[in-house]
Subunit: 327 residues, 2 copies
């Protein structure tokens, strides 16, 4: 059987993760990485694949089955996905929750026009966590759903602290508050404020001579990002930072705590403990690339989300084998 031919747009943490994830899936091969940089300046790990400029992507229309879009949600994906969905089957990890409906509609128009399939907002949140929020409220219509994130590095919050004057290097970790998690797991169904659910911890390397008090105050009072949370700021030296804070762990849990109709407590929990956030997210993208390709082969078109994809389409294995071995 011929392999599924994959292209990757964007070669940051996620793109590199996707390249590696493809190596764990024997039914897939990487054809090319597309970049907006000078292709000769980008060295990839896959010897058999090319590095090309994004402007040349349409030349691969007949040589690529699925394109994984691995750029950022702020500016890259809103532009790239509708543009590429006209010509390719695509999978992306667009994660600006509030803008998903608009993004879906734009991608849908493009994918329908091109007769292609696009699966949007794939990953773990949005993605696997979304699936579990949906499952939870559907099988337990009476109850509450809770999403906790962490312990993990938040990219957006880390970027925010790094923009503060006097911050040389900085990371921010989101921590679920254990007391809140335990109350939820006990079936209590508490009403929790933002501050009661998560805490934030920053590790900062300050510029020489910078006023640490000012930096700390600027962080903990920052609206939207920190003001609604209990935030702890630690100042450390650069060697410690390099040693302990350059990984990208993350995770969290979705808990549905409900009651079935005869009054019995029922608790459903899905949790992730991730050594590498981009490593896992890209593995999920690659599994959904397989599903996207199969949907295209079946003649489907338009934008899809994880809610529309049966898990059987994610697996390289035959349905009869899956039923026998895993059901």
């Amino acid at each position: 059987m011929s392999k599924i031919k994959v292209g990757i747009v964007g070669y940051g943490n996620l793109g590199r993760g996707a390249e590696q994830a493809i190596t764990q899936n024997d039914d897939m091969e990487l054809v090319a990485v597309f970049t907006r940089r000078d292709p000769s300046s980008v060295v990839i790990a896959t010897e058999s694949a090319q590095v090309c400029h994004l402007d040349d992507v349409l030349q691969f229309k007949n040589d690529i089955d699925v394109i994984l879009l691995c750029g950022g949600s702020a500016t890259d994906l809103p532009e790239q996905v509708p543009a590429l969905a006209k010509h390719f089957t695509t999978v992306d990890s667009f994660d600006t929750h509030a803008l998903i409906p608009k993004f879906f509609d734009e991608v849908d128009v493009a994918a329908q026009a091109g007769g292609n399939v696009s699966i949007i907002s794939v990953g773990w949140d949005p993605g696997l966590f979304s699936l579990n929020r949906l499952l939870g409220e559907t099988v337990l219509p009476q109850g509450e759903t809770y999403t906790f994130w962490g312990e993990g590095l938040s990219q957006g919050h880390s970027d925010a602290v790094r923009r503060i004057e006097g911050v040389k290097r900085g990371v921010q970790y989101t921590l679920p508050i254990e007391e809140a998690v335990n109350r939820v797991r006990s079936g209590e169904n508490p009403q929790l404020t933002t501050r009661e659910k998560h805490a934030r911890v920053c590790y900062i390397v300050a510029d020489e001579g910078a006023d640490q008090k000012v930096i700390e105050e600027t962080i903990v009072t920052m609206p939207n990002y920190f003001a609604d949370y209990d935030t702890t700021v630690h100042f450390i030296d650069e060697a410690t930072f390099e040693k302990e804070h350059t990984g990208m762990p993350h995770g969290g849990f979705v808990i549905r705590s409900g009651e079935s109709a005869q009054g019995d407590k029922q608790i459903v929990e899905f949790s992730l403990k991730l050594g590498s956030n981009p490593g896992f997210t890209s593995s999920v993208l690659v599994a959904y690339a397989r599903a996207a390709h199969r949907l295209t082969q079946k003649g489907a078109t338009g934008a899809h989300t994880v809610f529309d994809i049966p898990f059987g389409l994610l697996s390289p294995n035959d349905p009869a084998e899956l039923r026998k071995r895993l059901l």
Copy 2:
């Protein structure tokens, strides 16, 4: 919008649970319960629904959208599901893992012949646990999958102890062994024997004058059921049994412990803590009844499993609303 009209075959714990679960879903209504007993001897909770003999089920061909089969996997379902799938959209909870492929094929033939949809082996294991076994190995192709059950009451093992001479009443609980669970959650990927994963605990009310030593020995050495496990047997009085051991709690976890391609540990866990096993299983059946009905409306036919059903079909809500609210 007209409600989805549901029939229930079998009125034991699962059938009663399904009847109650329907009351939590405004888009569904129970039309009739079908029984092999004398219908006049069966009193159901839903005033607007009928109780009918199973022999009369075909009279409801135009009045029922989906039939939930709530009988046992040993003899009821292998006979009833293929027979009814010729005439109705069906959902069942057939759970004899080893016989699922044969059951699927038989139901598929019947459902195809009748132009109906059947979703087989729905519940939590097989069912939601199966989905998580599939998801885990697909997003983390390199790793190990572990399923633990309990703490919970095992119906089959409880039946087995009750068949022993001198046992008046008895229940058996399956317990996951915490040390094993912790080793798996730590990412160690241990090889675990049957005895290392689960323990079994029995609570027995003995007949007056029965030899408790003989009962205990008969239990702990019983092949297939107990011989491969560490089993503890407690003898209690009937009042204690009535007070503490008449519920049907269950649960468990599916853990995928893997490594993404850059060597990072990634752990995915799905867990259930169920106050009532039939209460939860029937809630899952009802959600899949909605999906089965929709598939029928779309013109699908044949046997399906949870692997074939996108989660979006389980929800009563509009896809655009789900994307906005849950993705």
